[in-house]
């Protein structure tokens, strides 16, 4: 991928041998057939089962949201002083998960990590669906979600404008830009593959639908030239964007003068946590996917191991963030900061904190062992644990910082109600439903990019396998 080299950069040095990122014996024809077959063959039985379960969970979301609209946000567990409950916890959790896709497709592209090619397509899809789930929460939390467009600057008869000094408006801009750019990036990557499906499907309806999506793509050299430029520029634009999104999400907290939130460590700590959670979710999806669609030739052990390494590295940054928070609470000498840290570790929510440390700091240390990193079962289990841990992290940050503030008279406790949980499980249903539709109707691996990395192809300027 990215054969564009207009800046006249020197040729990269020869790299030491690494195991190939595609199983031996594949050609441009075989990768095309194998990946498009997944979409063009008859629907496997397990797909219907998976889709049925996901769709049932989506109906839980429908019921929960309907009840919310009937009764108002009182159905949630939020109260004073904990005005931000599950809605913001789940918003941050989902948007964090939504970081891995763009990271893989953009940053790893710029860093010339060719192994990204097998996983970038579905990681980007995962990003889009996670952002869709995340976007639900602030809107539902509004109380009157049908007035969400008041968040946007538009000329209106009330002569009101949004408050641009508020991190919440920054969030609107960051998340909507991220959703738009991720969707465009994903679609641009899909166009040549939609053309492949158009050319290869025998079903007339499928040919027409994929043909619309492909917009008449014909693989012209002149087109590829502009296409590669656009793809590389989009990667360059998405890189600062993906780092900015979770930074802005962390500003939602860091700008507020609440002990436990008002910390300069927040932006990098949140971004690392987002990548950590995102890679955990990519592994959670990739491991069953490669098994069910028999894509082990393309998503190899090397991919799993590399993702395990990224998880370990970002996990350590997150642990550093936890230590820094505690250290600065003590170092600040501020009563309220110190009390917040004490309360986090020994207060009513101490078990959440212990679980958080166990999930996010202790369990991932197993990734130091190659045996664990190369075992799909172990990786799957660890990434599940990390997803739980990252959810607990947001719970701890939001609830323990709010529930005992400066004035003991206003202290309180918080727990999610059945509708909080219903909405949360419901967005998992939304996520899985979209994902099942995606793996059924679109190529889960970027076909044209895989063609560039098979041995003997001329596309990959950074080909690691001998030509």
């Amino acid at each position: 991928m990215a054969t564009l080299d207009q800046g006249g950069l020197p040729a990269p040095l020869p790299k030491p041998y690494k195991p190939p990122i595609v199983a031996p014996g594949h050609t441009t024809a075989s990768v095309t057939d194998k990946i498009s077959e997944v979409v063009l063959q008859r629907t496997p039985k397990w797909w219907f089962l998976g889709f049925a379960v996901s769709f049932s969970l989506l109906m839980v979301f429908l019921v929960s949201v309907t009840w919310l609209l009937v009764k108002g946000v009182g159905v949630y567990g939020i109260n004073w002083p904990i005005g931000w409950g599950f809605d913001i916890i789940n918003f941050v959790w989902w948007i964090g998960i939504g970081h891995a896709g763009t990271l893989i497709s953009a940053i790893l592209l710029l860093l010339r990590q060719e192994w990204r090619t097998s996983i970038n397509r579905f990681a980007e899809a995962m990003t889009l669906f996670a952002v869709a789930c995340a976007g639900m929460y602030p809107l539902l939390h509004l109380g009157r979600p049908w007035l969400f467009y008041w968040l946007l600057p538009y000329p209106n008869t009330m002569n009101l404008w949004p408050q641009f000094r508020s991190p919440l408006i920054w969030d609107v801009f960051a998340v909507s830009t991220y959703a738009t750019v991720s969707a465009l990036f994903w679609y641009v990557g899909l166009v040549p593959d939609l053309a492949t499906l158009r050319d290869r499907s025998t079903n007339r309806v499928a040919r027409i639908v994929y043909g619309f999506g492909a917009m008449g793509w014909r693989g012209s050299a002149a087109h590829w030239h502009n296409y590669e430029t656009a793809y590389l520029l989009l990667a360059g634009l998405a890189t600062p964007l993906v780092l900015s999104v979770h930074t802005v999400v962390s500003f939602d907290f860091a700008i507020g003068i609440i002990p436990g939130w008002h910390a300069t460590i927040f932006p990098p700590y949140f971004v690392a946590g987002a990548i950590y959670a995102g890679f955990a979710m990519v592994l959670t999806l990739a491991i069953p996917l490669r098994h069910l669609f028999k894509l082990e030739d393309f998503i190899t052990t090397r991919h799993l191991q590399n993702m395990g390494k990224v998880m370990l590295a970002t996990g350590l940054i997150v642990v550093y963030g936890y230590m820094t928070e505690l250290f600065f609470a003590w170092y600040s000498g501020n009563t309220y900061e110190m009390f917040m840290a004490w309360n986090r570790v020994f207060g009513p929510y101490r078990y959440h904190w212990y679980m958080l440390i166990a999930c996010n700091a202790v369990v991932p240390q197993f990734l130091w062992f190659r045996r664990v990193r190369t075992s799909p079962l172990w990786l799957f289990a660890i990434s599940m644990v990390v997803s739980v841990g990252m959810w607990l992290e947001r719970f701890v940050i939001i609830v323990t910082s709010l529930h005992r503030d400066f004035l003991p008279a206003s202290w309180g406790l918080y727990h999610g109600t059945i509708w909080d949980w219903g909405t949360f499980i419901g967005t998992m249903g939304l996520f899985l439903t979209l994902f099942f539709l995606f793996i059924r109707f679109l190529p889960t691996i970027s076909i044209f990019e895989m063609r560039t990395i098979v041995p003997g192809s001329h596309g990959g300027e950074y080909t690691e396998v001998p030509r």
């Binding site: 991928m1 024809a29 801009f173 492949t196 008449g216 502009n226 656009a230 520029l233």
Partner: protein, 185 residues
């Protein structure tokens, strides 16, 4: 020579299409065709091959300029939107702080810059490539469906000043093409 039996041969010809089995053959052919002085030439490949674009003379894309313009417009637009709403039409006094609080405006300005540039990159690319294009003559050749799998094609258009049906056909056959086909318009 199956191309001669093409049912659409009475229609004006779009050009001649040569099919190649390998990217190496296409790259070599692209160089030869360019050296020979053909200008209305395009190659079709299943994945981007930089050597082919280079050989056919596609050196600079206009896209980076368009993206830069989009980014600048997005940035200026985003900042002016905030200045206009927060300073001119809806000033809000928060503890006597200045209404033109530019540090707070940086974050949305950054986001609108990226948004403008990304929209310019995507729509600029589609515009420069003339997409969406529902009809194109190359799709009249049934074997062209393989262009999105593992075959490499090259088309010399009939409007090329050097185009001559027989001479060009012979020239393409000499370039290791596995098949040369007429493309109906």
């Amino acid at each position: 020579m199956s191309g001669l039996q093409h049912p659409a041969k009475r229609l004006p010809l779009y050009g001649l299409m040569a099919e190649f089995n390998s990217s190496d053959a296409l790259i070599a052919a692209a160089h030869r065709v360019h050296d020979e002085g053909f200008t209305k030439v395009d190659a079709f490949t299943p994945y981007p091959i930089e050597e082919v674009s280079e050989a056919l003379g596609h050196h600079r894309s206009k896209l980076p300029g368009i993206v830069l313009g989009g980014g600048i417009l997005g940035g200026i637009g985003g900042y002016l939107l905030q200045y206009w709403t927060q300073v001119i039409v809806y000033p809000m006094n928060v503890g006597g702080r200045p209404v033109h609080s530019w540090p707070a405006f940086i974050v949305p300005t950054f986001e609108t810059t990226i948004l403008g540039a990304a929209l310019a990159a995507v729509f600029g690319m589609f515009f420069l490539n003339g997409l969406p294009q529902p009809y194109h003559p190359v799709f009249n050749v049934p074997r062209f469906a393989m262009a999105s799998r593992d075959r490499y094609f090259m088309v010399i258009e009939s409007k090329d000043p050097k185009f001559d049906l027989e001479a060009t056909r012979r020239f393409l056959s000499e370039l290791n093409a596995s098949e040369v086909t007429e493309v109906a318009r």
